[in-house]
């Protein structure tokens, strides 16, 4: 047994490469190459309207970004967005998944209902919410009926970003709920049965079986949610255009403007790769925090 195990460890297996090869090719052509190209662009003054006139700038784009106050505003807004939504989205998604795991009458309907926001295009969702946040819209009316002075939602620099964040939690929870549901299925029933026999309460089962076993899925949700939130764009584009007073400018929104209104794709790429580094760092931290291992033997 040990001899065979030792043979497996680190052996070059043709099976592995059969499984991986065609897809590595696709990754190279459609992912790695555009990546490399856009990374290279970050060192150039490149306008898509006049590619022939591209000038090599070294690190000038990066230096400019780090000195650009709007870059930092965008970064700040993005981080507020990320840290402000992820705890809520993740807990809501997990809670919903736990609640909708076991069969009950109408469970599928509930699952579909919570998943519904994901089904519609984000542009349409943003347009609908833009209307909901209108001064005479339903949300203002709701606030008034509760005796409160309705905030100006998207028109007030103090509440605009929070308004978009609230919408994002609403829109994203159902999506991550489904991922958690899948992850929950990988936990063998026997563990729960054994624990019940030993008289464990549901809270104890949650804490000692579900959550530890769910770690890989939990990490997945955390990383993917972070990555996506760090790239928040369409909602801002549709609902506020970055305003008021730049309070909702996010990093990707900012780089989009640089790329397609100023046609400075090199500068936009530099911003993107600065964001990328931050995202990678955050992912590293999350992996370390949850102490995830590689493939076991």
């Amino acid at each position: 047994m040990t001899a065979r195990a030792a043979k497996r460890r680190g052996r070059f297996e043709p099976a592995t490469w059969i499984l991986l090869s065609p897809w590595i090719l696709a990754l190279i052509v459609f992912v790695a190459y555009p990546f490399g190209f856009s990374f290279a662009l970050s060192f150039y003054d490149y306008s898509p309207l006049n590619p022939a006139a591209a000038k090599f700038l070294g690190l000038a784009n990066y230096a400019e970004a780090l000195k650009d106050p709007l870059f930092w505003t965008a970064l700040k807004n993005t981080l507020v967005f990320v840290f402000g939504t992820i705890p809520f989205t993740t807990s809501l998604a997990l809670g919903l998944a736990l609640g909708l795991k076991r069969a009950f009458k109408g469970r599928d309907f509930y699952r579909a209902g919570f998943f519904l926001p994901t089904v519609v295009s984000i542009v349409v969702i943003s347009l609908v919410w833009k209307g909901l946040y209108a001064p005479e819209g339903p949300l203002s009316a709701l606030a008034q009926s509760l005796g409160l002075v309705p905030p100006r939602w998207l028109l007030d620099p103090n509440t605009a970003l929070a308004s978009i964040m609230a919408m994002d939690v609403w829109a994203a929870s159902g999506y991550y709920m489904v991922i958690f549901l899948a992850g929950l299925q990988a936990i063998p029933e026997e563990l729960y049965e054994a624990a019940a026999l030993e008289g464990a309460s549901s809270w104890q089962r949650l804490r000692h079986i579900t959550l530890p076993m769910l770690k890989p899925t939990f990490l997945f949700v955390l990383v993917v949610n972070s990555v996506r939130s760090l790239q928040i764009f369409t909602e801002v584009f549709v609902m506020t255009g970055g305003g008021p007073l730049h309070s909702t400018v996010t990093s990707v929104f900012y780089l989009y403007e640089q790329a397609f209104y100023k046609f400075r794709l090199g500068y936009a790429s530099a911003i993107a790769y600065l964001l990328f580094s931050l995202t990678l760092l955050l992912a590293f931290v999350q992996v370390k925090w949850l102490k995830l291992e590689g493939p076991k033997s």
């Binding site: 898509p48 006139a53 005479e136 998207l154 255009g241 008021p244 007073l245 730049h246 397609f260 100023k262």
Partner: protein, 415 residues
């Protein structure tokens, strides 16, 4: 492998085999690839007429979406995969032209220039890179019912700033969710168009005549901004679509808006009693009824495959008959040809005629390569003033400083 996986594998293989297919069939005639934004039912009659008159050309029209349409044109330009003729918005045009992406049409368009309203829209660095096709401006939309309710004269619209202010005050005082004047909140590429008409009307300008410095810091512009801020206090500050909505629901006394309302109002608020008037000028004895002018141009790319075909199509589209045909169907824009207002269509529609009349004193934005940054600067500062973060005077001065810096440091890119 179970059945599901087999099925998936089979379909993937099949798909990879089929994926080579697709695309437009090849034609024996000379093709002109034309990218534009008008709905197919509006542009097709015009193209059919062109086909009749030019049987040797096959126009392949592709309709672009406003959402991300610019990205598509940009990507195509970067790859050299450009259409022969393309519709470009007047705010995008200077960038494309100054970076050498477009074909030089100075010679072809020279004889036509006098027949075009706002021919300067196509000129960058002394050369013409496109042909103005349709233009649009902004005018004052006012609600006759609310004016009547507030005890104001409904036979004519406010013509001066004091008249507009008084009307806004009185209507705003009516209460019940009604607002006097609609001021645009910070909205990229929109706020500028609603503020600057007052500046221009008061004699304000943006750049020095040689385009190398800012002329924005002036009393004229400061007075205009003060006026706008006062109007904001007698009305409502919101985004354009909300202001339009409020206007159509009869909850807004007046606002500056555009010809797209001519399509929306009959559908959404057919009973609305409203009028359209020229943007009010500062006083009866001085200033002008100025407004913003923008539009769509037709241009060919430096790398286009069929430049002659593109020119023939462009010339046709911009001609009086074709442009009128399109504008009557679309209603949101007007032909760029001089004298279009004389057409019976506009004569029978007083509101739309006002729009065309407004064009006569409408001002286009400078075709400076850094214009978009300058516009952003103005919008940022005006927005700050609207939100009370700075005084009007500071806003004007700051904006002017930023514009000046941009004017002095930006050079048009070499071809």
């Amino acid at each position: 492998m179970n059945g599901l996986m087999k099925g998936l594998l089979a379909s993937s293989v099949m798909a990879l085999l089929i994926t080579g297919c697709g695309g437009a069939p090849k034609s024996k005639k000379e093709t002109v690839v034309f990218w534009q934004f008008f709905p197919a039912e509006q542009i097709q009659p015009v193209l059919d007429e062109f086909a009749k008159q030019n049987p040797d050309l096959d126009v392949q029209m592709e309709q672009l979406t406003w959402q991300s349409g610019l990205e598509k044109i940009t990507a195509a330009t970067a790859a050299g995969n450009v259409p022969d003729l393309c519709e470009l918005g007047s705010t995008w045009f200077p960038r494309f032209a100054s970076q050498g992406a477009l074909a030089d049409w100075s010679d072809s368009t020279a004889p036509l220039a006098t027949g075009m309203v706002l021919a300067d829209m196509a000129r960058v660095n002394g050369k013409a890179y496109g042909l103005p096709w349709v233009v649009g401006t902004r005018a004052l939309f006012w609600n006759k019912d609310l004016f009547a309710k507030a005890g104001l004269d409904t036979s004519k619209a406010p013509e001066t700033w004091p008249e507009l202010l008084e009307a806004s005050r009185k209507i705003n005082a009516l209460g019940g969710g009604v607002a006097g004047y609609g001021v645009n909140a910070g909205e990229r590429y929109v706020l500028f168009k609603k503020f600057m008409p007052y500046g221009w009307g008061n004699g304000g300008t943006l750049l020095t005549p040689d385009g190398k410095g800012s002329a924005f810091d002036s009393r004229a512009n400061l007075e205009a901004l003060d006026f706008l801020l006062t109007l904001g206090k007698n009305g409502r500050v919101d985004k354009q679509d909300q202001l339009d909505e409020a206007f159509m629901q009869g909850k807004l006394g007046a606002q500056i808006s555009g010809a797209w309302l001519f399509r929306k109002i009959p559908k959404q608020a057919p009973d609305l009693r409203y009028g359209v008037a020229l943007v009010p000028k500062p006083a009866t004895d001085h200033g002008t009824h100025a407004s913003f002018a923008g539009g769509e141009l037709l241009a060919s790319f430096a790398k286009s495959k069929n430049p002659t075909g593109a020119w023939r199509l462009a010339k046709f589209l911009a001609s009086r008959e074709a442009a009128l045909l399109l504008c009557k169907a679309n209603q949101s824009v007007q032909p760029a040809v001089v004298g279009a207002v004389a057409d019976a269509y506009y004569q029978s529609r007083p509101n739309e005629a006002v729009m065309v009349e407004q064009l006569a004193s409408a001002v286009p934005t400078p075709n400076h390569p850094a214009w978009l940054d300058m516009e952003s600067a103005i919008e940022d500062e005006v927005e700050k003033a609207l939100y009370g973060k700075e005084t009007a005077a500071t806003a004007i001065t700051n904006a002017s400083k930023r514009i000046d810096a941009l004017a002095k440091t930006t050079e048009p890119a070499a071809r």
